[in-house]
C-alpha cells in the first residue's frame, strides 16, 4: 500500500487533504510541524509528502524538503503554500520539490497530482 504523509499545522487543512485523497486508498500519516514531518517521513518512508511551507517550529517546509530529498531520494514532495510569488516557487524548486500547489487549491487537482506520483 502506498503511503502519503500530510504535513500542515492547520487541522482543517489536513482533514481536507485526507478527504480529497480518500479515493486513492492509500495509507495516510499526519504531521503538525516541520520537525514532526521530517521524523515521520524517515520513520515511514512514504511515497508522497504533502508539505506546507509555513509551519511553526524549528524547521519550515523548505528545510524539511531539502533534508528529506537527500535522505529519501525516491520521495515525491508536493509543496503547499499560501505564498504564490514567483520567488517562492523558485525557492521551492531549489529545495528539490516535485510540485507546488498554492492555497487555496482545488482538491480534485490535488488528487490528480498525487495520482501521477503514486
Amino acid at each position: 500500500m502506498k503511503k502519503i504523509l500530510i504535513a500542515d499545522d492547520y487541522d482543517e487543512i489536513r482533514w481536507l487533504i485526507r478527504l480529497s485523497l480518500h479515493a486513492l486508498g492509500c495509507e495516510m500519516i499526519e504531521a503538525k510541524t516541520g520537525q514532526q514531518a521530517h521524523d515521520l517521513a524517515l520513520q515511514h518512508n512514504p511515497d508522497v509528502l504533502l508539505l506546507d511551507v509555513m509551519m511553526p517550529g524549528q524547521m519550515d517546509g523548505l528545510q524539511v524538503c531539502q533534508a528529506l530529498k537527500v535522505a529519501l531520494p525516491n520521495l515525491k514532495v508536493i509543496l503547499l503554500t499560501a505564498r504564490g510569488q514567483q520567488a517562492d516557487l523558485e525557492e521551492g524548486i531549489q529545495a528539490g520539490a516535485d510540485a507546488y500547489l498554492v492555497k487555496p487549491f482545488s482538491p480534485l487537482e490535488l488528487l490528480e497530482l498525487v495520482k501521477s506520483f503514486v
Binding site: 482543517e12 478527504l19 503538525k32 487555496p104 487549491f105 482545488s106 482538491p107
Partner: protein
C-alpha cells in the same frame, strides 16, 4: 619727406688725386717718348735723303770723269764748257747736301778742296795742260768725300740706333709703368667703386629703414593719439572716480564720475583741493597717506567724502604718486563708491544670516565643504543624524566624515564615498551603529557664476521611519494575503468537495460547518483590517472624544465580551468611584473588548480572568489578567505585529490583528498599552489612558 642722398660726392672725395696726377704724368711722358722716338726714327727711315746723297756724290764723281773724258778726247770747247757747267752744278749740290755739313771738319778737307776746285775750275784751266792733274786731284777729293759721307752716314745711323734703343727701353719702361699704373688705377677705382656701391646699397637700406621708421613713427603717433583718446574716453565714462592732482595737491583733471560723487561739475573742480571734500576727522588720515605717496608709495584706504550737499559718501581710494625723475609731481587717484557695496554687503549678510538660520533649525542635516574638502558649515541636525560631536569636526575634513560614516555603516549596504561625488549624487546610507538609521544623502557641487566649484553641499534626511513604514507595509500586504489564503483554502476546498463528491450526511455537515467557521474568520479579518486601516488613515480625527463615565463603560464592555459560558471565572474589581475621562466610547469598547477576549482565548485551560483599574500620576490604567498560556520574551516582543499569532496550532481562533488594533486605539487617545507576561503562567494587559482630556 624723403632726404636726398648724393653718394657721388663721396666717391669723388675718395678718388686718389695724387694717383691720378701721376697717371696723367706717366701718360704725358709716354706721349713725349713716342714723339721723340718718332722724330728720331724719321732720319732712320729717310732713305730718300741718303739715296739722294749717294746719288749726288755718284753724279759728282761721274761728271768729273765725264769732264776728264771730254778733255781727254779734246772735244770742242762748247762740249767741255757744257760738261763743266754740269760739274759746277753737281759741286753746288754737294756743297748744299745734308751730309756735307755733317762730315767732321778734319775729314772734310779733301772733299771741300775738291768741291772748291771744281767750282773754281774754268774752261781755260782745262784747256791748259795741267788740267789733267787737277781733275785727278778733284776726283780723288770727291772719292774721299764720298767715303767720308758714307762713313758719316754709318756713324750717324749707329748713333741713331743707339738712341733709339735707349728710347725704346725708356718707352717700354714708360708703357709698362703706364700699364701697371693703369691697372692699379683701374683696380683701385673698381675697388673704390665697389665700396661705394656697397656703401650706396647700405645707404639705400638705411634710407629705407629711416623711411620705415618715419612711417612707423607716424603710425605710433596715430596709435598713441588713439590710445590717448581711448584713455580719455575711459576716464570720462568709467564708473569709478578718477582724479589727477599736481604738485600743489590741486586738481588738474577730474572725471565726471568723481565730480558726481562729490556733487559738482568736473569743470568747477579744476584747481581746487581734494581736502575740500574731506570731513575734519578724516584729515589726519589723509595727511598720513599724502606723506606715504610723497615717499613714492601707492596707497589704498577707505574714507568718507563730504559731498557739496554735506552728505557723507563712503569711498575706497587708491592713490598712485606721479613721479618725474624720482620727484613727486602730484598723484593719480581712483575713487570707488562703496555706498552700493555696503548696501550689498548688508543684504548679503542678512541673506546669509537667514540661510544659516534656516539651516540651523532644519530637521535635515546639512554639511558644507570647501572644494579642498575642509568643513565649512554644518548644523545640529547633521550631528544628531550622524552621532558626530562638535569636537569631532574641529579641523576635520570631508574624508574624515566619510570614514566616520563608513565605520558605522551596515556592512551589507555598501557605503558610497561622498568625497568622490560628481556634479550631483543621491544615495542611501544605512547606519547600523548605534541604532539602525537610514539616511538619504543628497550631494551637490556649488558653482559660482564662472562655473568654478566653490564647494559641496550635503543634505541628510532621516528616512528610517519612512523606510520602516514601507517595509512594514510590504510585509503587511504579504502577510495579509497569506492570512486570507489559509481560511480561503478551507472554504474553497471543502465547498468543492461538497459540490463534486458524495459524503455521508455527518461528514458533509462537518465540512459545511468548517466552511462557515472559516468564512466567519475571513469576515473577522476583513473587519479588523478595515478598522485598523480606517483608524490609521484618520489618525484619530474621527474619534468622538468626550468625557465618559469610566465605570459604566467598562461594565458594558465586559458584559459584551466575556463569553457567557465562562462568566463564572471573570472577576472585576472596580474602585467605588471612578473619574470620568475623555474617550471615544466605541473605540474604547473595541480595545478593551479585544483584551478581554484574548484573556479568555489564551487561557484555554481555565483560570481566573481579572479586571481592575489603577491610577498613576495623571494616568489611569485598566488592566486584564489571565492565568493562561503566557508569552515567551520573543513572542512578547512581536505581540503588536500585525497578523502575529502567539498560538500557531490554529486551535485558538484569531486574526493576529487584535492587539495591533488595541495599540492603535489607545495611542490615538494619547495612552499606552503595557503587557506583562510569563510563559505558562499568564498575561496582564494594561491600557493606560490620560485622566485629563487631550
Amino acid at each position: 619727406m624723403k632726404p636726398v642722398l648724393r653718394p657721388t660726392t663721396r666717391l669723388r672725395q675718395r678718388l686718389p688725386i695724387g694717383a691720378l696726377m701721376a697717371l696723367l704724368l706717366i701718360f704725358a711722358l709716354t706721349l713725349v717718348g713716342f714723339f721723340v722716338v718718332s722724330r728720331n726714327l724719321e732720319p732712320v727711315f729717310d732713305f730718300t735723303s741718303t739715296q739722294a746723297t749717294g746719288f749726288a756724290y755718284a753724279e759728282f764723281q761721274r761728271q768729273i770723269a765725264v769732264v776728264q773724258l771730254v778733255v781727254a778726247e779734246g772735244q770742242s770747247a762748247q762740249s767741255i764748257q757744257n760738261e763743266l757747267d754740269i760739274l759746277h752744278s753737281k759741286a753746288e749740290i754737294i756743297r748744299n747736301e745734308t751730309y756735307y755739313q755733317k762730315i767732321p771738319a778734319e775729314n772734310r778737307g779733301l772733299l771741300e778742296s775738291a768741291v772748291q776746285s771744281s767750282l773754281a775750275l774754268s774752261l781755260q784751266d782745262l784747256q791748259n795742260n795741267n788740267a789733267k792733274g787737277q781733275l785727278e786731284k778733284i776726283l780723288l777729293g770727291a772719292q774721299d768725300g764720298f767715303r767720308n759721307v758714307v762713313f758719316t752716314i754709318g756713324e750717324e745711323r749707329e748713333n741713331l740706333r743707339k738712341n733709339l734703343l735707349t728710347l725704346e727701353y725708356a718707352l717700354i719702361a714708360l708703357v709698362s709703368l703706364l700699364g701697371v699704373s693703369m691697372a692699379i688705377a683701374v683696380l683701385q677705382f673698381s675697388r673704390t667703386l665697389r665700396l661705394e656701391l656697397k656703401r650706396s646699397d647700405e645707404l639705400q637700406a638705411a634710407q629705407e629703414h629711416l623711411l620705415a621708421l618715419t612711417t612707423n613713427l607716424r603710425v605710433s603717433e596715430a596709435a598713441a593719439e588713439h590710445q590717448r583718446d581711448l584713455a580719455l574716453n575711459v576716464m570720462n565714462t568709467m564708473g569709478q572716480g578718477l582724479t589727477i592732482t599736481n604738485a600743489d595737491g590741486r586738481f588738474e583733471f577730474v572725471n565726471p564720475a568723481y565730480a558726481k560723487l562729490v556733487g559738482e561739475t568736473a569743470q568747477a573742480l579744476i584747481g581746487r583741493s581734494p581736502l575740500e571734500f574731506a570731513f575734519p576727522e578724516e584729515l589726519s588720515k589723509l595727511e598720513q597717506v599724502r606723506l606715504e605717496r610723497e615717499a613714492g608709495t601707492t596707497t589704498t584706504y577707505a574714507t568718507v567724502l563730504k559731498r557739496t550737499d554735506g552728505l557723507p559718501c563712503d569711498v575706497l581710494i587708491t592713490g598712485v604718486p606721479r613721479l618725474v625723475q624720482g620727484q613727486q609731481v602730484g598723484s593719480v587717484a581712483v575713487i570707488t563708491d562703496l555706498t552700493q557695496t555696503k548696501a550689498a554687503e548688508k543684504r548679503l549678510f542678512e541673506r546669509t544670516t537667514q540661510l544659516l538660520s534656516v539651516i540651523s533649525v532644519s530637521p535635515d542635516g546639512v554639511l558644507i565643504c570647501s572644494p579642498e574638502g575642509s568643513i565649512l558649515e554644518y548644523n545640529a541636525a547633521f550631528l544628531d543624524l550622524t552621532n558626530l560631536q562638535t569636537q569631532n569636526l574641529e579641523n576635520a575634513s570631508e574624508t574624515m566624515v566619510d570614514q566616520w560614516l563608513l565605520t558605522r555603516c551596515d556592512p551589507k549596504a555598501p557605503y558610497v564615498f561622498g568625497v568622490d561625488a560628481q556634479e550631483e549624487q543621491l544615495d542611501l546610507i544605512r547606519l547600523k551603529f548605534p541604532t539602525l538609521r537610514i539616511l538619504r544623502r543628497y550631494m551637490r557641487l556649488m558653482r559660482d557664476e564662472n562655473q568654478q566649484v566653490i564647494g559641496k553641499v550635503m543634505y541628510f534626511r532621516d528616512i528610517t521611519h519612512e523606510s520602516e513604514v514601507d517595509r512594514l507595509k510590504t510585509e503587511f500586504l504579504s502577510t495579509a494575503a497569506h492570512e486570507l489564503r489559509t481560511p480561503m483554502a478551507s472554504i474553497y476546498g471543502f465547498s468543492e468537495l461538497i459540490a463534486t463528491r458524495d459524503f455521508d450526511s455527518g461528514t458533509t455537515k462537518n465540512m459545511a460547518k468548517t466552511v462557515y467557521r472559516q468564512a466567519g474568520r475571513l469576515v473577522g479579518i476583513l473587519n479588523d483590517l478595515l478598522d485598523l486601516t480606517r483608524i490609521e488613515a484618520r489618525a484619530g480625527k474621527d474619534f468622538k472624544i468626550v468625557p465618559q463615565d469610566l465605570a459604566n463603560l467598562i461594565e458594558i464592555t465586559a458584559e459584551a465580551f466575556v463569553p457567557l459560558a465562562e462568566s463564572e471565572r471573570f472577576v472585576m474589581d472596580l474602585p467605588t468611584s471612578l473619574p470620568s475621562i475623555s474617550l471615544d466610547a466605541d473605540k474604547f469598547q473595541q480595545a478593551l473588548g479585544n483584551v478581554i477576549s484574548n484573556a479568555f482565548k489564551y487561557s484555554p485551560n481555565g483560570g481566573v480572568v481579572e479586571l481592575g483599574v489603577v491610577f498613576k500620576a495623571e494616568r489611569c490604567g485598566i488592566w486584564v489578567r489571565d492565568q493562561g498560556i503566557g508569552l515567551t520574551p520573543e513572542q512578547l516582543a512581536r505581540v503588536f505585529e500585525r497578523f502575529y499569532r502567539a498560538d500557531t496550532s490554529g486551535t485558538i481562533v484569531g486574526t493576529g490583528l487584535g492587539l495591533a488594533l488595541v495599540k492603535e486605539i489607545v495611542e490615538l487617545h494619547g495612552g499606552r498599552v503595557e503587557i506583562d507576561s510569563v510563559f505558562g503562567v499568564g498575561t496582564t494587559v494594561t491600557l493606560w489612558f490620560l485622566t485629563r482630556a487631550v
